[in-house]
Amino acid sequence: SAVISQKPSRDICQRGTSLTIQCQVDSQVTMMFWYRQQPGQSLTLIATANQGSEATYESGFVIDKFPISRPNLTFSTLTVSNMSPEDSSIYLCSVHPRGAPAGKLFFGSGTQLSVL
């Protein structure tokens, strides 16, 4: 299993600013995933963060808008840059621990972002 601490839990930001979300895991994991959950909608994968290499972004998401850092095997950050009201969402960090069955992800509690 894995325990994930995600900060901040929520924030209200002004348009044009940036917010960095932190994700700390209590064990070393190879892959960390960042998801976006827009109001009333499903989870959409933004990117996969691998330690020691650049993140892999899904279609529709770009590094300039959502830069990701992965300095070690227990930590990652996601920055939402130059925010607009359309970025208002819940952002979720998740991991797939070594030895866990395929597809069994552990999630943080998310960051609820509101952009004014």
Binding site: M31, F33, Q41, S42, L43, T44, L45, T48, I90, L92, S94, H96, P101, A102, G103, K104, L105, F107, G108, S109, G110, Q112
Partner: protein, 116 residues
């Protein structure tokens, strides 16, 4: 691309009763994984049950069981003896085999309310 459809945005069930949540998916793959994840008000997603497509036997986890119909591409979740703590959003999810690094495609969710 794979799609996951949950046609019931909201459902309600009385405590101790049984409820079934529907999910259909579309894929051309023969081997894959299916999941039901629960998101309570705390926002932290939790895996409820997991099914491997090559296994014909339906997965069961205590009060939770699935009805997996591969030919019909249907994957419903049955919750027996519903409890107040089952109140949550339930997401059906699909994953191609593990070479795709645990990338899940989620449905839009069903909000389940368990009442007294």
């Amino acid at each position: 691309a794979q799609t996951v459809t949950q046609s019931q945005p909201e459902m309600s069930v009385q405590e101790a009763e049984t409820v079934t949540l529907s999910c259909t998916y579309d894929t051309s793959e023969n081997n894959y994984y299916l999941f039901w994840y629960k998101q309570p008000p705390s926002r932290q997603m939790i895996l409820v049950i997991r099914q491997e497509a090559y296994k014909q036997q339906n997965a069961t986890e205590n009060r939770f069981s699935v009805n997996f119909q591969k030919a019909a591409k249907s994957f419903s979740l049955k919750i027996s003896d519903s409890q107040l703590g089952d109140t949550a959003m339930y997401f059906c999810a699909f994953m191609r085999p593990s070479g795709t690094a645990s990338k899940l495609t989620f449905g839009t969710g069903t909000r389940l309310q368990v009442t007294l």
